[in-house]
Symmetry: C2
Subunit: 431 residues, 2 copies
């Protein structure tokens, strides 16, 4: 693909602008960074009329283009949502600043003193879709950790993001920090992502946030370091020794409390010895909440035989594709397994290393599952919905990593930092 | 490029073989892993005749192909080098096992107990060049940390690596660990690297070790997570307040003690106020050790005017390219700067985020440099040659990271691990 010079220059200018501020950001005190965050919140409120007007134009275009209501809802800003973003900034200002933390310190026999110190990453780029709140949330977390930020939001939210970034920059300026530390890429065709992903030396980390398509595009094309986030093909396994009084609410919660998020489950695995009696019970509850089932042959037979008034589409045979699908919707695949090992093998084959749960009263089975399942978060007798930076007590979250390099699971402030070694000597040389 | 099916299958079979063992490796006790390491050392000694014979065939081919002596020396194995590799394995067996370490533990208000636990990465691939000792050193570190390993060594060392891997696998087998955890890619054309770099889901981490060309190839083509290593365009800055009795040995050591390694310096930056008197002194010492200089206009004038018997090629004007070159040889670029800030700007422009040193008695200048220079290791009054896992007291080193994601500077055992969250509940669901 040929990328226009104008577009390349546009993106590189933004990146270089951000990079020039990394020294100042790394040197900024916690007090100044917190002041910037609070100033940003104040500026969002002061500039709310302009923000809401810009957003209204984005929303009008999305409606005219016939976008789905769910997407328009994600795009929408109003005073309530602005207040939520402001509250988020205030909360991040309250959190401890990880930058400067001494991670390790030791003196070598030759007298060299080595200090391992937490430092900002440098320039972090966020690539995301229609939610304009990411613009504010990510900026808060990254400025707090002394990073410069390059934002590449969705095309449909451009005017909203421009208005938000103007307010965020006002907040920076009022705290005496360089406004160039917050950059918004305003040429939003796909090629601007490609330029960003190849900008070695200008970007220390890229974090994609969005659907599987966006994340795959970033991971496949990036030549700069990436943290893969968010795709969650999560499972609950109900063991033969499960307390079914725990299993039922866990499955209902993990599937229905908020099905559109990555920590919701997509497949229920049930041990054969409890399937016949319990599957109809949980299916009744799921059905009442509007959940459609995609069942393996065995569970299909059990569910068809149960005294449930199935409507068209509510119970279908599962295909191979179902096991691999992140529905993000009121749909659940169901599979009967003959053993704990079969459940774990299914998860190893189809899981996305996100969140996996076992429900059992058998302590040995629980330990086998917790140790043997390769995922960011493994649960015993709890809903997968707890995989979340706020629930984990981090006070904030920039995303959920599904890779093993650098960060795994919910990422808070610490995960947005690196470290450096500072070595102090008196003329030492190596033998 | 079209990659043959045979080659793709060869590489994928190796990767899948490694992946199948990750559960067993992660569950292996420290005692069993240490036994495997000691068994590997024993097997290397028992099988030394075969290893040396295989290596002799590789060396003969390299000589016939007219390879440089330095390269043949890197390739050569003999009893002394086998003993060194064995000693390395024994040393790694003595080190603490990071796997299973509890990094954090807390109980939420709802009673959920969250434990953050150190776990192996999974499958780690090493891509390297002619040194066959990397085969043994990397395997020791990665088996100790419960990882499966896929080795892709240089074409010229294939028979040596095959013989070494056979011995390493004997060691695994004798400890009851799966031999498939150590895989050697035996089809060594470039395309096998490409297959490996695209094998998402089968490789958790790739570490390239070698020259800048190899590292660039890996970083540019990888679709799996990578840690960039090793390129070191390092500097010593001699400040106007430098104690020149410290500066001289530091510069000599950093340039000449072992110029072929990444932590040696490539450019000397000297403050203008000390350049006229001191540059001729240090140049005399460098010259006596066979170091050729590439000098900026100002330093060239000083050095030409000095009472030194320059031979052809020993003193040349520096070009723009010199500032960006990692010579890895007895060559040093020299630049006079007007201020600490100019030195830092030069390092920011040309440095490779590896190791950077300041020589000064001015504590403020030192702190400005240590805080403001973006590099894995920053030094005050010491040689850059200390950037090394053994020197830092890690007991081992798998490489030196020049990126900021996950690991920075010397990487030991801990850097070869990830973590997972284990959450224990009693039926908790999210509100």
């Amino acid at each position: 693909m040929t990328i226009s010079t104008t577009l390349t220059e546009h993106v590189l200018n933004k990146l270089e602008g951000a990079k020039r501020t990394t020294g100042a950001l790394a040197a900024a005190s916690t007090a100044v960074k917190n002041e910037a965050l609070r100033n940003m919140a104040a500026a969002l409120w002061e500039q709310r009329a302009g923000i809401i007007a810009a957003n209204a134009a984005d929303v009008a275009d999305a409606q005219a283009a016939g976008q789905l209501q769910a997407r328009i809802d994600r795009l929408l800003l109003n005073e309530t949502r602005i207040l939520q973003m402001m509250e988020g900034l205030e909360q991040v200002a309250e959190l401890a600043d990880p930058v400067g933390e001494v991670l390790d310190k030791n003196e070598l026999q030759n007298g060299l003193e080595i200090t391992k110190l937490r430092v900002p990453m440098g320039v972090i780029a966020m690539i995301y879709e229609s939610r304009p709140n990411v613009t504010v949330d990510a900026t808060g977390l990254l400025i707090k950790t002394g990073n410069a930020i390059v934002l590449r939001g969705g095309r449909e939210a451009l005017r909203s993001n421009q208005a938000l970034v103007a307010a965020l920059r006002t907040g920076m300026q009022n705290a005496g920090l360089p406004i160039e530390a917050i950059q918004l890429i305003e040429m939003v065709d796909h090629a601007s992502v490609d330029v960003l992903l190849e900008a070695r030396g200008l970007v220390d980390l890229v974090i994609p946030r969005g659907g599987a398509g966006l994340i795959q595009r970033v991971v496949q094309n990036a030549k700069v370091p990436v943290i893969e986030t968010g795709v969650g093909n999560c499972h609950v396994y109900v063991d033969k020794e499960a307390d079914l009084a725990k299993a039922q609410p866990i499955v209902i919660n993990a599937k229905t409390q908020r099905p559109s998020v990555c920590n919701a489950i997509e497949t229920l695995l049930v041990h054969a010895s409890v399937a016949a009696n319990w599957l109809p019970q949980v299916a009744r509850d799921l059905l009442a909440r509007g959940v459609e089932l995609r069942a393996c042959a065995q569970s299909l037979a059990i569910l068809k035989g149960a005294n449930l008034a199935w409507q068209s589409g509510e119970l279908l045979p599962a295909t191979e594709e179902d096991w691999a699908t992140e529905y993000l919707d009121f749909t659940l695949a169901v599979k009967v397994v003959g053993s704990l090992e079969e459940a774990m093998a299914h998860i190893a084959q189809y899981g996305s290393l996100h969140s996996e749960a076992i429900v059992t009263e058998d302590a040995d089975a629980a330990e086998t599952f917790l140790n043997g399942v390769d995922a960011a978060v493994v649960y015993h007798n709890a809903s997968t919905r707890f995989t979340d930076g706020f629930e984990f007590g981090y006070g904030a979250e920039i995303g959920i990593s599904t890779q093993k390099l650098h960060a795994r699971g919910p990422m808070g402030l610490r995960e947005m930092t690196s470290y450096k070694y500072v070595v102090r000597g008196e003329g030492q040389v190596r033998d």
